[in-house]
Subunit: 245 residues, 2 copies
Amino acid sequence: MAGLKQVQRQTGVALWRQIADRIREAIGNGAYDETGMVPPETVLALQFGVNRHTVRSALAALAQEGIVRAVQGRGTLIERKERLNFPITRRTRFTAGIGDQARETRGLLLDEAQEEASAEIARWLGLKQGEQVIRLETLRHADRRPVSKATSWFPAERFAGIGEAYRKHESITKAFAELGLADYIRATTEVTAAHAATADLADLELTPGAILLIAKAMNTDLDGVPVQYSISRFAADRVQFTIEN
Amino acid sequence: MAGLKQVQRQTGVALWRQIADRIREAIGNGAYDETGMVPPETVLALQFGVNRHTVRSALAALAQEGIVRAVQGRGTLIERKERLNFPITRRTRFTAGIGDQARETRGLLLDEAQEEASAEIARWLGLKQGEQVIRLETLRHADRRPVSKATSWFPAERFAGIGEAYRKHESITKAFAELGLADYIRATTEVTAAHAATADLADLELTPGAILLIAKAMNTDLDGVPVQYSISRFAADRVQFTIEN
DNA sequence: TTCAAATGTCTATTGATATAGACAACTATA
DNA sequence: TATAGTTGTCTATATCAATAGACATTTGAA
């Protein structure tokens, strides 16, 4: 588990960024829980086989993210460490899934629009291409930290006013309930990973090079009729998915 | 979908690498399927807002990976494009899951060892810490391209000789069968994403900064007794997971 | 054959990245 | 109150990353 931590040169990814990513990950995995501190700069420099100044650049980046805080004379303290678990089941709901792990969850409506369904959206929602759909851009927080950004599409006819309902309740489940859909089922989830797009970086408070876990999900009502298709982007260092079969 | 492709400066990730990652992703998503070619360098330079030489660095990297091939006077042709779908269900098996999408799958045994179960492994396999387990390091290919690298643990007493059986059959399912376990069930899967570790980069033929989809999975026999715990690392640009509920 | 469009090559310059060394400033503890 | 251990700051140097411009070479179509 220990061993020489390695980085690669001349790959277009600066050493300080590789090291920052590794340390962030190690913190997330609880590697430094005993001391609550990152090892001294000289030790890290030795471990990664780089100059101490390079390690300092990495730690400066992590300090900028609010993950560590350096104290002269003492060391570099771990400020924040989180990895939420997000279960994916037939009853997957964001708020309920995260709810027991965070004191407070919020759902922000960033944008709302009615538009014609693209071929892909139409396929997922069982509509014809060009039929009207409502698109919501939402940003979900847990304990005041952004966790995921999602784009969702709903059949416009059936769910007119869902934007307003979401803005009020800050929850898809409650918005559905207000519009007469008491229950729904997660039918399909596709999971991929990718580098974050610029637009998502800012909202999720990430730095470039950061990784997103991307879940493309389709929900149906109890009769199996599609009610929602969504593409959710999660900050990979803050979330893991669990699939229980 | 079109719009200005964006890259960020002074983030420790070189522009040419960001651009290479975006283009690789776009190719994987079928963005250039109509022409079978990447847009001209000057067009890409305009789209990304960088100098043509920077785009050339990105394309050179992709050519190195064997994804594109530049032909003077014509353009830059797409050589390879793949994204396998990996379904996660109660009956998840690598070979069967990928089998219908690739002409040929292989499973290579990189390493085998018998060791004492760590606290985590023991918990997953329902053993006591320190009990003997067999660890296999395997590398799985589809159509001669590496797809995933996995570390698996098995209770040593019950599955003595599983390394040899895997080496022979190149399949966990068949190795289990040889040892008297005719059927098994995927009980739990945890999905995360992370930057690839150096050791995995080489085996999976990836470049640093590349993303892994990581699946931590536990399989049980039909009585619910754990038979395998594994951590599989997939090249994120070649694979997606599908969870059907 | 001609020409537009595309990739290939070269030179030059600037800023970011990484290394190296020296020393200052601060903290906790013996 | 020393002192070891830690982070903070400064200078200097070499290499990588990015931009800029000019021109050569190849291809495919008019």
